[in-house]
Homo-oligomer: 322 residues x 3
Amino acid sequence: MQNPQLNQHGELQHLLTTEGLPKAVIHHILDTAASFVNIGNREVKKVPLMRGKSVFNLFFENSTRTRTTFEIASKRLSADVINLNISASSTSKGESLLDTIDNLAAMHADMFVVRHAQSGAPYLIARHLRETGQNHVHVVNAGDGRHAHPTQGLLDMYTIRHYKKDFSQLRVAIVGDILHSRVARSDIHALTTLGVPEVRAIGPRTLLPGGLEQMGVRVFTDMNEGLKDVDVIITLRLQNERMSGALLPSAQEFFKSYGLTPERLALAKPDAIVMHPGPMNRGVEIDSAVADGPQAVILPQVTFGIAVRMAVMSILAGTQTA
Amino acid sequence: MQNPQLNQHGELQHLLTTEGLPKAVIHHILDTAASFVNIGNREVKKVPLMRGKSVFNLFFENSTRTRTTFEIASKRLSADVINLNISASSTSKGESLLDTIDNLAAMHADMFVVRHAQSGAPYLIARHLRETGQNHVHVVNAGDGRHAHPTQGLLDMYTIRHYKKDFSQLRVAIVGDILHSRVARSDIHALTTLGVPEVRAIGPRTLLPGGLEQMGVRVFTDMNEGLKDVDVIITLRLQNERMSGALLPSAQEFFKSYGLTPERLALAKPDAIVMHPGPMNRGVEIDSAVADGPQAVILPQVTFGIAVRMAVMSILAGTQTA
Amino acid sequence: MQNPQLNQHGELQHLLTTEGLPKAVIHHILDTAASFVNIGNREVKKVPLMRGKSVFNLFFENSTRTRTTFEIASKRLSADVINLNISASSTSKGESLLDTIDNLAAMHADMFVVRHAQSGAPYLIARHLRETGQNHVHVVNAGDGRHAHPTQGLLDMYTIRHYKKDFSQLRVAIVGDILHSRVARSDIHALTTLGVPEVRAIGPRTLLPGGLEQMGVRVFTDMNEGLKDVDVIITLRLQNERMSGALLPSAQEFFKSYGLTPERLALAKPDAIVMHPGPMNRGVEIDSAVADGPQAVILPQVTFGIAVRMAVMSILAGTQTA
């Protein structure tokens, strides 16, 4: 059974998930991103790598923030970008989704950046393109349901590599609502592939999914224990819709037990970095003193995120049509 | 009385309708489109024909699909595109519509691509531009009410010419809701001008407008009779809002009598092509076996549609200011 | 206390208001705009002054019209433009607004064009950028609450200079809802700085703010008296929401007392020009005979507006990072 992300030459055909993404492919993406990081500081922040290519941002679920990062990355690669906000209702049937895809492919699209509330939608699209021989179109998963958000996972890896150099000695803690987090899932797969010896998940029992131990993750429900001696802390956003739900007492309660405060941060290694995928709920999952403190690398994550998306897109655009 | 689409040199000043569009002008558009069809397959899908020109997509009626085709066509011609979704309510008075037009023209617009729920709106704009001497601005009708959708009509002609070469021996059947279809109207005018000897309209009596016979169209209410020995079948979309209305029993009833199934398609010539302007209602006006079958040219229509829109826009942009 | 718009070299770092903007800076903007006015008529309407720069249109308040002018100005300067319509609700807390700003700055933004319903929001952003050392990002106020709309003020100055050459001999009347008008405020500050000896405000007592006399403005509640012998009439838009409020009897009553009719226009100097920031309420603040008459310069204002915005943006983009 072939990896649906790779073509027959083992090259990246689509980016759907960090799960099963070969270590060499991840490092190739991060190395390519490194060459783009400084473009942002140049007078002219553009390279012509995707000139004349048509990138479609297909956002079946609204996300101004993520859409913006892909739009900027595309424009800095000189691609033409078309933004399509497609309400899920108008394409409720899978058949109709694939008709939309076929139509856009017939307009000679080169890339679909897909955000969808349903897990698996980007896979469905990638499989359909393969089955219909439309291999000139590449798919980038920009977040599907609770499943995966691979460019966020990769930018997190870029950030860790930037500050810590070597993955092989690290303790990384992911804190908060692991259950609903596609970011957590994408991070765990990438960290494991890159050889991080200890990945920890910290959160209340109601927000921890089953099966973490089988993925090699150490589970903690006590924040203080979990943070002890870690090198990297990835704080997750607590989704607003969870806060008033049955899974949690309240935002204040959550902060009391799992909010990252300066006192708790002091339990980690002195040079530990603090990450967050944004947007932050200050005073819920993270204290402002930490978010704006010297150990936070949250804004560099954003900067690296543009470079990582440029890397993924330019690598896909350069892949041979199988 | 001058044709409102042509300037005093007989050149295309606006594209408002296929009605009265001279045969030579239609062929010039199709020939120009042919030169663009292969651009979509090139590494760099852009030509600099409209570099620095400003195209405004004025969509008073929402249509993501049509807007996207014009946006892509504009970008492949290197134009700058501004998308304006203007709710009909904010410009309910004609006066205020023309103030909007004057304002955008004063920003040195080069082209307005206009979609409007009211028939005649693009004419009103074109007339106003002429009366106020603003001949540097060209209007493309992207669909007005039930009246016309000329770029769809022209891409249908391109598709027919591509597969059938010669218009002078053809039997073309248009099937479904002719009454509410601007596509049907635009196709009929173009087919007649191009010398198609037999144009047929097939549908239930409630969805057939009066006056078809006077336009030279043969009318059929029996699907099997109407399809006999035709070379081209143009299936129309059954608008959702009609399906539950008084004009029709139900979508299932419609499919039973007028849905294009493989059995019915077999009544046409063996090499007949099947067209549809999209988006399709599978199982209502067309069976999936036909939509995805070897005689369907529905996706090539989309590809040709980009080239035809590039042709129209580049011809208009090159028209001398009278 | 440093002027928040200027850097330590006295160069324009942000454009927040016309208040306190030095006369030399205003003339520099108008002179630069003059060099752009004719670009609109050229075959290729682009200059590469901002190639590769990223401009973010941050519209916390919806305004298609103003957003469009900045989008065109950016594209004619060859910048990459990202439009963000951010509903005020999602960023109700100032803290969260600044997190958004930090995120976009981390994407290597070069310019924020900010429209906000709250007076002072662009200042807040500019101050935050200075305090956090992010001096590579420039802010343009595209309208904040009732406070300021400096690019509209500057394009009004451009228009007056274009038609009247010299500011030092002029009588300028601003007519209508001065109380709620950021345009009036921006005009008054600029006119005063440029040395206009007589600025008049005309309107009903309920729509005249206090403190006009202290700003050097002559106040009139009688339209006929106020228009006498003026060189320039700036008619303001009567906001729809005021018309049915307690401040005014009705739109018809307003027109009877303060609508600019041909008869009233005859009271001004014979060569007086009539301006309006748009969109006009014909028959409320202005009669159509005047709006479309020979003394109206309302559409040239729009044309000059693009050039003035190009001037402001290109000057800011060329400012040295302090």
